[in-house]
C-alpha cells in the first residue's frame, strides 16, 4: 500500500475526461449489500461497477482472470473507494491468471451504490428487453458489441439480435447484411492490443446463424479481415457486428 501511495504521488494528476485503458487483475470489494468491482492502475484504484442482474448493462469482471478496462474518468466522488469511469467497457481476458484473487472485506463507510437488486432473491419481476420500436421504418442498422477478443453473444447482444430479427420479419426485409469486425485497443501505456485473426468472420457467421434461426430470410454474412485501428478513446465501439436490414 505504501508503494501504491508513492506511485500515486509520482503519477500525473488524474483529470476528468482522461482516458484509461489498461489490463489488470480485478479487485472485489465486499459491502453490506452487493460487491463492488475495482481495478488498480498506476497506483490508483478505479471503480468498475457492482454486481447486478444479467439484464444490467454492466457485466462484472471475473477473479482468476485479468480484465481489460477501457473508460473515461468521470466527475463525482469516488465509489467504493475507486474513481468512476464513464463510459466504461470491460473485457475478461480468457486465459486464467490465478493471481487475480483479491476480495477485500466490507469496511464501514464504504457502501455500494444503490442497486435495483441486492445479493438475495429479486423483489421484482425481470423485464424482457423491449422489441424494436414500432416507429422504425426504412433501412436500419443494429450494432452488436463485443468484449475484446470475444465472440460471446451476451444478454445485451441477444436483445439486439432479437430486435433486428423482429424488425426484419415485420417489414419482410428483402436483405439482411451482416458485417463482422475485429479491432485494436490502444492502451494508456501506448501499447496496442489487436484482436485475434478470424474473429470478425466468427462474429459475423454466428450472428447470421442466430438471425436465420430467428426466421429471418435473405441473410448474408461478410467480414473485414483487417483489424480496425485503435485510438484509445472509442475502441470498444469497433469490436462489433453491424446488422443492416434492408426493406
Amino acid at each position: 500500500m505504501r508503494i501504491a501511495c508513492f506511485l500515486w504521488l509520482l503519477a500525473a494528476p488524474i483529470t476528468v475526461g482522461q482516458q484509461r485503458s489498461f489490463v489488470a487483475c480485478p479487485i472485489v470489494r465486499d459491502t453490506k449489500t452487493v460487491p463492488c468491482f475495482l481495478a488498480e492502475y498506476q497506483g490508483e484504484l478505479y471503480y468498475l461497477g457492482i454486481q447486478q442482474d444479467i439484464t444490467a448493462a454492466f457485466h462484472p469482471p471475473q477473479l482468476k482472470h485479468e480484465v481489460l478496462v477501457e473508460g473515461r474518468v468521470s466527475e463525482g466522488p469516488r465509489v467504493c473507494g475507486g474513481i468512476p469511469l464513464t463510459p466504461l467497457s470491460i473485457s475478461v481476458v480468457k486465459e486464467i491468471n490465478p493471481a487475480c484473487n483479491t476480495i477485500l472485506p466490507a469496511e464501514p463507510g464504504i457502501d455500494a451504490p444503490q442497486a435495483p437488486r441486492g445479493a438475495g432473491p429479486a423483489s421484482y419481476r425481470l423485464a424482457e428487453p423491449p422489441p424494436a420500436p414500432d416507429s422504425l421504418t426504412g433501412p436500419q442498422e443494429f450494432t452488436v458489441l463485443y468484449a475484446f477478443n470475444d465472440d460471446f453473444v451476451d444478454f445485451a447482444a441477444i436483445a439486439t439480435v432479437r430486435r433486428a430479427a423482429g424488425y426484419a420479419v415485420k417489414i419482410g426485409a428483402s436483405a439482411v447484411k451482416v458485417t463482422g469486425y475485429r479491432a485494436t485497443t490502444l492502451l494508456s501505456n501506448g501499447e496496442h492490443l489487436v484482436e485475434k485473426a478470424g474473429l470478425a468472420e466468427k462474429r459475423a457467421q454466428d450472428i447470421a446463424t442466430l438471425l436465420r434461426g430467428s426466421s429471418v430470410t435473405g441473410v448474408s454474412a461478410d467480414w473485414r479481415k483487417d483489424p480496425e485501428p485503435g485510438d484509445g478513446k472509442t475502441d470498444p465501439t469497433r469490436r462489433r457486428v453491424a446488422i443492416t436490414v434492408i426493406p
Binding site: K64, E95, G120, R125, L126, V153, I158, R162, T209, L210
Partner: protein, 493 residues
C-alpha cells in the same frame, strides 16, 4: 426358547416385509397392473405421492411398461413410481438380491460396468449397485443432429479406467467404434411439463441457438438430460428404446406417443414427512406435494421473494420442531448469501466471479429448482479438484478419469484452463466445447427422499452429503444447525 424365537423370528419378519415391499413397490416389465390415479410409497423420510393426472393407468401392453427391445427391459425398469420415477441404489441392491442379478435392469449393455465383464459377478455391476449409475456410451467424436461432423475443441485421453470399458478394444475410446463411457443416474420421468418448459430461441448461457424439436422445428429447453443430448421426450424415448432396451427395430410412432403422453401426466413429490406429518395442508407451504406440481403453471422464474421456487414457508415458522426446521431450511435456500465462485456457465455468463447470491440464483425454476435457462453448469462434481471422487492416484474410486486437453485456438474452460481431469466431461461430450467440460444439466429437486444417491454421478449418498458438498465447494460456512435445516427442507420436496 425365547432366545431361539428371537434369533429366527426377526429375520423371518424382515424377509416378509422385504418381499411385501417388493411386491408393492417394484413394477416388473410386462406386468398387468392398474396404477391408481393417486398413490403413495413409503421411503426413509416419509411418503412419496405419485399422481397419474389422466386417471388410472393400465400397464397391460403399455409401451412404457412393456419390453420393446431384446434385453427384457422396459422404461419402467429405471423409472419406477415408488422411487420418484427413477430408481434408488438401495432398490437396485434389493433387486439384485431378489433376482440373483437376473433382473433386466442389470443388462450387460449398460446395467453393468462394461458389457465384456462377467455378468454373474456382483462386482461387475458395482456402479449400479453402489451408486445407481448406468453406463452411458457416447460416440466419440460427437456429431451434429443431421449426422455431419462437429468441430471438437479438445482431445480426450483415458488416464484411469477401473471399469475397463474406456480402454476396452471392443467398447473403448480406441475401439473400431470409438466410444466414451460415462456413468450417470437416471433422471425422474415425472413433473416433465416443468422440465421441458422455458425454451428460448437463443440460449442465454451460450449465446447460440437452442436445439430444435425435430417434430416441429421449435426450440427446446435443453434441460431434459444431464448433457442435453436429446431435444425432446420423443427423441429421448426413441434413443432409450434403441439403447437401454437394445431394440433391433424402432418403436412405432404410436408407441412413442403413448410413452410421451404417459410421462407428461405423471407428477410426484414427497407428501408426508416422518416427523413433520402430512405436507399437503391448506395452511402449509403451497409448493409441496404432487398435486401442486400438477396444478401450477410451468416456466415461472422463482428466484424472488414474493413467489419463490418452492413457495413461501412462512406459515411453518414458529411451529413444531420439524415444520419450523423445514421452514428455516427454505429460508436458507432462498436467502442465505455466499460467494458463488468459479462455476462455469454461472459466473462466466456476465454475472461476475464471484457472485454473492443464494441457492435460488441458480436453482431458480419454480417447483423444480432447475435453472429456467438451459441449465448446464460446472458446479464441480465431476472435475478435479472439486470433484466428489478421491484423487487420481487413489485406486479405490469406481469411476474413470479422463484428461481433456483444449486446443490452443479454443476458449479454455473459464476456471480450469486448458488441461482438465474429469470423471464425466458432461455437456462437452456433446457440444465438443472446452468451456463445457464438466458441465451437467441441473436436475429437479422433487421426490429426493425416494431416489438417493444424488448428483449425476451418484456421489452423494444422502442429502447431508449434498449439503456438505456445497458447503465445501463454495465455502458457505454453514453451521450444523443450518445443515440440519437444509437437509430437512430438501427431504420434503
Amino acid at each position: 426358547m425365547h432366545r431361539f424365537f428371537l434369533v429366527f423370528a426377526i429375520p423371518l419378519t424382515l424377509a416378509a416385509q422385504y418381499q411385501n415391499n417388493l411386491r408393492v413397490t417394484w413394477i416388473e416389465p410386462g406386468g398387468k397392473e392398474i396404477l391408481p390415479a393417486i398413490d403413495q410409497f413409503e421411503n426413509s423420510l416419509g411418503k412419496l405421492g405419485v399422481i397419474q393426472a389422466s386417471g388410472p393407468v393400465d400397464t397391460t401392453g403399455h409401451p412404457f411398461f412393456t419390453p420393446l427391445g431384446t434385453n427384457g427391459r422396459a422404461c419402467v425398469n429405471c423409472h419406477q413410481p415408488a422411487y420418484g420415477m427413477s430408481v434408488s441404489a438401495a432398490s437396485l441392491r434389493e433387486r439384485w438380491l431378489a433376482t440373483d442379478g437376473k433382473d433386466p435392469v442389470f443388462a450387460a449393455f449398460d446395467g453393468s460396468n462394461c458389457p465384456d465383464l462377467p455378468q454373474d459377478k456382483e462386482k461387475s455391476h458395482s456402479l449400479l449397485l453402489n451408486r445407481g449409475l448406468f453406463r452411458i456410451p457416447l460416440t466419440w467424436p460427437p456429431r451434429n443432429a443431421d449426422g455431419s461432423s462437429k468441430a471438437v475443441e479438445f482431445s480426450i485421453e483415458v488416464v484411469r479406467d477401473p471399469t475397463g470399458c474406456n480402454s476396452s478394444p471392443v467398447y473403448g475410446l480406441k475401439s473400431p467404434k470409438p466410444t466414451v463411457s460415462v456413468y450417470r443416474r437416471p433422471r425422474p420421468a415425472a413433473n416433465l411439463k416443468y422440465v421441458i418448459s422455458g425454451a428460448q430461441n437463443i440460449v442465454l448461457k451460450t449465446g447460440m441457438l437452442a436445439d430444435r424439436d425435430p417434430e416441429n422445428g421449435r426450440p427446446v429447453a435443453m434441460n431434459l438430460m444431464s448433457d442435453a443430448r436429446e431435444p425432446s421426450l420423443m427423441t429421448q424415448a426413441m434413443s432409450a428404446i434403441m439403447g437401454h432396451e437394445e431394440a433391433r427395430e424402432a418403436p412405432s410412432r404410436k408407441q412413442l406417443e403413448t410413452i410421451v403422453a404417459f410421462e407428461q401426466q405423471v407428477y410426484m413429490a414427497q407428501v408426508e414427512h416422518t416427523y413433520a406429518g402430512p405436507l399437503v395442508d391448506p395452511s402449509g407451504p403451497s409448493g409441496l406435494g404432487a398435486a401442486a406440481l400438477r396444478d401450477r403453471p410451468p416456466g415461472v422464474l422463482g428466484d424472488n421473494d414474493f413467489d419463490p421456487v418452492f413457495g413461501l414457508f412462512d406459515r411453518w415458522k414458529g411451529k413444531d420442531h420439524y415444520p419450523a426446521s423445514i421452514a428455516r431450511g427454505a429460508n436458507i435456500f432462498l436467502f442465505r448469501q455466499f460467494w458463488l465462485r468459479d462455476a462455469a456457465h454461472i459466473n462466466s455468463i456476465g454475472l461476475g466471479n464471484p457472485l454473492k447470491r443464494t441457492c435460488a440464483t441458480c436453482h431458480n425454476a419454480q417447483m423444480t429448482g432447475q435453472d429456467l435457462s438451459a441449465g448446464w453448469v460446472d458446479v464441480g462434481t465431476t472435475n478435479y479438484p472439486t470433484w466428489t471422487e478421491p484423487g487420481t492416484w487413489v485406486e479405490s474410486s469406481d469411476l474413470p478419469v479422463f484428461k481433456i486437453t483444449c486446443n490452443p485456438e479454443a476458449d479454455p474452460h473459464p476456471y480450469l484452463g486448458r488441461v482438465i481431469y474429469s470423471t464425466d466431461p458432461g455437456r462437452a461430450l456433446i457440444s465438443g466445447r472446452c468451456v463445457d467440460v464438466g458441465s451437467i444439466v441441473m436436475q429437479q429437486f422433487r421426490g429426493l427422499a425416494a431416489r438417493a444417491p444424488y448428483f449425476s454421478n451418484g456421489s452423494a449418498e444422502n442429502l447431508r452429503e449434498v449439503v456438505d458438498f456445497y458447503d465445501r465447494r463454495f465455502d458457505m460456512k454453514l453451521s450444523e444447525a443450518e445443515k440440519y435445516d437444509l437437509v430437512n427442507f430438501l427431504g420434503v420436496l
